[in-house]
Amino acid sequence: MKGFILSFRSEFYKSRKTAGFWSAVILPLLLCILIFAGFYSRSDKMAMEPGVILWAQFSGAILGVMGSLLLPMLIVFIGYSVNSIEHKADTWKTLFSLPISKFAVYSAKYFYALFLVFLCLALFVLFTVGFGNLLGTVKPELKFHDYNMSGTLSQLYFKLFLSSLGILSIQFLLSLLFRDFLKPMGIGFIATITGVILVVNQWKYDYLFPYSHPMLALSALPQHHNHPATNNPTIIVDIFTQEIYVSLIIAAVVFIAGYFIVLKKSVK
């Protein structure tokens, strides 16, 4: 366990000045600012909307882009960046000749990639809620303050996080095995497009294909119930749908298989 914690801290230390780390921070910030600017400039047209609809439009605009294309591509990039740092510096040989078990080194790297995805999605929640409330403050005619979306958003993004784990494991392993960016990137891109097509065409077994999971996770529409007291709808997110289970199983299997591949693989 000590080896794992040391390796995990080292991963942070190494990557804190790389694009891989900052992409996880800047992507949510940038996207939220863009949507914020869009709403700010069109505020007069939306002044009549109730708070819940505003929130749905605001966060939906962000979620829509993320779920289908941006999240899988971000994962491709994060999976690549945590491994490429070693490929580029030719440091696999030193990592695996440290007095730290190979499993600790491997799993720390994997969980660091997982942490970056989690961080990115958590920041999406934070920035969405933050910028939504900011909009309500700078443009009081937009009734963002009438409704609190943070609980629902947290659940939605958590579901999105779980749905992305299958892709993460696959992309992580591909980036570990291939030195160049093009192979994991190419495979990830084609698989993502395939995933979108499968969901759009409502293929019967699309829930078995990991690259379809983020889109599926969001396409199962949250159920609306009108709250008796406030007359505001409460949105209930069903987190554990079948594609989430498939995603978790794929993530675990590929993670374990990856370890045995690493064990067998000669370090160049």
């Binding site: 801290r9 230390y13 000045k17 580029k88 510096a89 030193t94 007095p99 000669s266 370090v267």
Partner: protein, 299 residues
């Protein structure tokens, strides 16, 4: 023995890269592991660090079997393999701090090794902007960081200028003589090893051709009498008629296997009596460079 391998064999596909290697590296030695490029040196080193899985034979380090005591053994080894493994986006010091974090070593030791390899002034410069020699020195600093009992260095003076080479050599000699470390150092340059090694292993095509102390190696090179004279061919023929057969005759020199001091006196007298000018006559050891070539080429 600090390193002891027995019948170590390694294949890459159908090609045998290391053949039945039995290395014996005594404690407190500087073991020069010599061989031409592609002889199997780096593969052997990767086997010693368990980066490649042993296929046949056994490896014992500090008297313990490598695979079953991997972490315990690795904790006492510092290594530099081929090109130094350095994160170019981090500064030299950050590279060391990162490794110190993994090995749970304090910053004081980081500053100490920076000083040892003379990188204190460039500590905060990005390693990507380092020269080849600076990178190599940072690689050596990384290997020294944990103050290991055994240093395994693969061609550590690659890319260093003559001053750098001398510094590394002196550092290694000091580590062994003052701090009782053991150094296993590979090189394709005999001249470099000759000046510091106490023991030598010579490998070619994956086979160990020679192993022993540097004195054993020197003893293998039989001394010769080197005679500088004006008419070498005639003189050599004349000596041959007197039972001193030359092994080599050049335009300026004759070489005859050395036996005794008396023999040298006789040769000198014979030549002088016949009117040959003897400009010089000395006993000469065959240099190790030549011996190394002989050993690796005859195999």
């Amino acid at each position: 023995m600090v390193i002891n391998t027995d019948g170590l064999t390694f294949d890459f596909g159908s090609q045998t890269v290391v053949k039945s290697l039995s290395l014996q590296v005594p404690e407190g030695s500087i073991y020069g592991f010599l061989g031409p490029n592609g002889a199997g040196k780096t593969t052997t080193i990767k086997l010693l660090l368990n980066l490649l899985q042993t296929q046949q034979g056994s490896i014992h380090i500090f008297g313990k079997e490598l695979k079953s005591n991997r972490l315990e053994i690795l904790a006492q080894i510092g290594s530099l393999i081929e090109q130094p493994a350095i994160y170019l986006h981090l500064s030299g010091k950050e590279n060391l701090l990162n490794r110190a974090l993994l090995l749970q070593i304090g910053e004081a030791r980081v500053n100490e090794v920076l000083n040892i390899v003379h990188l204190t002034d460039a500590a905060h410069k990005k390693a990507g902007q380092y020269s080849l020699g600076m990178k190599q020195r940072l690689g050596i600093a990384l290997a020294l960081l944990s103050d290991p009992k055994l240093l395994i260095l693969d061609e550590p003076t690659n890319g260093l200028d003559p001053n750098g080479i001398i510094e590394v050599r002196e550092l290694l000699i000091k580590l062994v003589s003052e701090h009782k470390k053991t150094v296993f150092i590979s090189s394709h340059l005999l001249a470099e090893i000759e000046r510091m090694a106490t023991h030598v292993g010579i490998i070619n095509h994956g086979e160990l051709l020679f192993q022993g102390s540097i004195h054993d190696l020197e003893a293998m090179s039989k001394p010769a009498v080197q005679i500088e004279t004006d008419n070498t061919i005639d003189a050599a023929n004349y000596l041959a008629r007197n039972n001193y057969t030359a092994t080599e005759v050049t335009d300026t020199h004759i070489f005859i296997p050395y036996t005794t001091k008396q023999q040298m006196g006789n040769i000198n007298k014979l030549l002088n009596d016949m009117g040959y000018n003897v400009y010089s006559i000395i006993k000469q050891h065959k240099d190790l460079e030549k011996l190394f070539l002989d050993i690796t080429q005859n195999a």
